[in-house]
Amino acid sequence: MQDISFVIGGLAGDGVMRTAELLGKTFNHLGLYAFVISDYQSLIRGGHNFCKVRASGRQVWSHLEAVELIAALNQDTIVRHEDELTEGGRVLYDSDAAKYEGPYKPFPIPLSGMVKQVGGIPIMRNSAMVGAIAYLYGIPFEPVNEVLTWAYGKKAEKNIKLARMGYEHARQNFGQILKLAPVKRLPMPFISGGEAVSLGAVKAGMKVYIAYPMTPSTPILSFMGTHQDELEIVVIHPENEIAVANMALGVAYAGVRCMVGTAGGGFALMQEAFSMAGQSENPVVFVVGQRPAPAVGVPTYTAQADLRFVLHAGHGEFPRIVVAPGDPEESFVKAGEVMNLAWKHQVPAIILMDKHLIESYMSIAIDEREVTAEPGSVAESWEGEYRRYKFTDSGVSPMVFPGTPGAVVKVSSYEHNEYGHEVETPEGITKMMQKRLRKMDGIIKDLKGRETVKIRGDPKAENLVVAWGSTKGAVLEAMRLIDKPLKFLHIMYLSPFPEWEVTKHLERVREIVCVEVNMTGQLRSLIREQTGHYIKKAILKNDGRPFDPVGLSAKLKEAFGWT
């Protein structure tokens, strides 16, 4: 089995992330399955940026902490990652910028000198590095050429020249690590969760994306912005998150599908408007990208600690949809699904993601036919005066939008009657509250026909791993490292909570372990609240990093008593 793992690192501004992405894309072109995770700090120049790149002949769900190669643009990269090298590891480094005399095999390459030779600029060191890495993994030069041409267009010439120089230098001086063989498979995207969630929303009819920049959701804003013409969407970056959310309410009120994106802190600012979305029954989809908090926390790292926050965000009682996809394909499908559900049931929806999911790239098949724009609950006609909040059995009052002849559409933040006028009587309040809350029954009915959880591994196993969101990747990879029967329950919908699925899986097993990137076991407590099941064992951490599959497999073995 061909399975490679290396790290490429340098200063912020050295272009490490772009290089890793291009290499991942090259592997993807060859039919391999690639995965790239980026690790960077909250600064623009300096510091230490690195990417872990993995590629394999079979689907990969996660990076690995351990690597067989360090590709270093500076000395710091070698120092920081040397202990991650596996036996026989190699250190490829810019010999004009770093030295290496340690126990691993040194692969010096004069990147800076090469750049000078062709009259390039320092960031082009990456291209020579790409060429050398391609050689080390036995990749022919042609796909490298293609990807660089795609990436740099008219400016590709010097980059290609440098890649060729790097490739030749490696061929003459270093031994190949292995020879990656191309794999025959259908083409599939090498894509991040942030990009996939954007495309899913657009496919379900999203026309407006509104956001204020905040890591880790900024890449969604950038992607939507740079692709607004192709996607025929409008992208707005207003004065603050409060404006973002309230603006989105206006867009939805006027009949246009809209999504907003933010991180935990930004969503905290949006909470009043989120509550208003519930009250006014304006369907808006919120992407919340988690990072370690409280407060500003650790901006450029990952966490799964805002589950309880989004489940309870906003004052008052109102139905909401919360979904947490685990990979880019699920991000695509679930974005479309909740956009449709929000417009059908007229409720706000949250897509709960995290830095690891939004920003990591992977090769994964996405079938765009999985998402269509399903019709919302729109009124074709009505009797007498139009009532925006007409009482119905389902609690859903068919919508029309301003501009509709003969209809006066009044939405309100205040508790209101069917026409949207303020009410304060106990009967008036009760009836409207019940109408709104009744919608949850319809959402549950709807979700019972859709995929709310996923089962992986051995469905008959007596040992069950439970996780949510991006931790899916590490769990799937860890399971490959454990030779005992294991079943994996990946819970995607968190509100309404799919107890109809979860309960039956919990009841059929003997041992359960819950894995989350938070320290309080938020899913574990939610499961107890929703099903009565108390999961005794949990593997929890909140250090900004996703689980490493190797480390997680050891912890799982220990938890299940297999050590």
Partner: protein, 283 residues
Amino acid sequence: MDMREFDSTARNTWCPGCGNFSILAAAKQAMAELVQSGEVKPEQIVISSGVGCHGKISDYIKVNSFYCLHGRVIPPLMGIKVANQRLKAIGFAGDGDAYDEGISHLIHAARRNLDIAYIVHNNQVFALTTSQVTPTTPIGFKTKSAPKGSFETPLNPLHLMLACGATFVARGFTGDMRHLRSLILQAARHRGFAFIDVLQDCPSFNPTLEKFKPKVYDLNKEGHDVGNLVAAWEKAKEWNDRIPIGLFYRVEKEIYEKQLIGDRVLAEEKPLPSVQDVLKEFM
């Protein structure tokens, strides 16, 4: 069209003699005139209001309305205009909404030249919460929250708006309804961000009607040049024996919506049938 067609069935709970009644009547008259003249259809009008006494205006006009959160009158209207720029949007805000809680939105809407009319019911006091200071409360004014009298320098809303690039800056007075109706009509017809600060009488907590009436005069009848920013700034300083009302400044500038989306009407667009071309970029 008769303005009574905008009458709503909601029960009005404003205090007797409240200045809001003048703004309500003037707004309804202005809307009726817009419909009458064929400029807009009734279903194309959308209003929004904040939270406070003024906010109830959403309930009191039978027209599309977005009765929003405190301070947030502008963002939903911006969303509405982006979604459907054919709609005629008029926002109503209190001085607490406009100048306290939601002041950032006001600054940015003016700077962007969003095509809406924005009417501030400025009674210089929080009334629905039974008297607290707002950013326009005069120095020395005593409220429950400042029983020794306010000591904060009041904001000059007209100066703020002139500085932010609003393309229509005016002041109205609830003691002169004809004038107010005309101002609202002009604001609604203005292509761009039209701002009116309305001096509003609050009979319960800040009765100003009799105090302002003898001082108020229409600056547009005294040869003020509405195209002159410096003159507008000077006029906006006047606040002693004489208080000018009317249009201080007007200028033509491209509107936000046009620059953002040209002539697109998003509310009428169909979903994109395929994202495959973009997906292919990743392959």
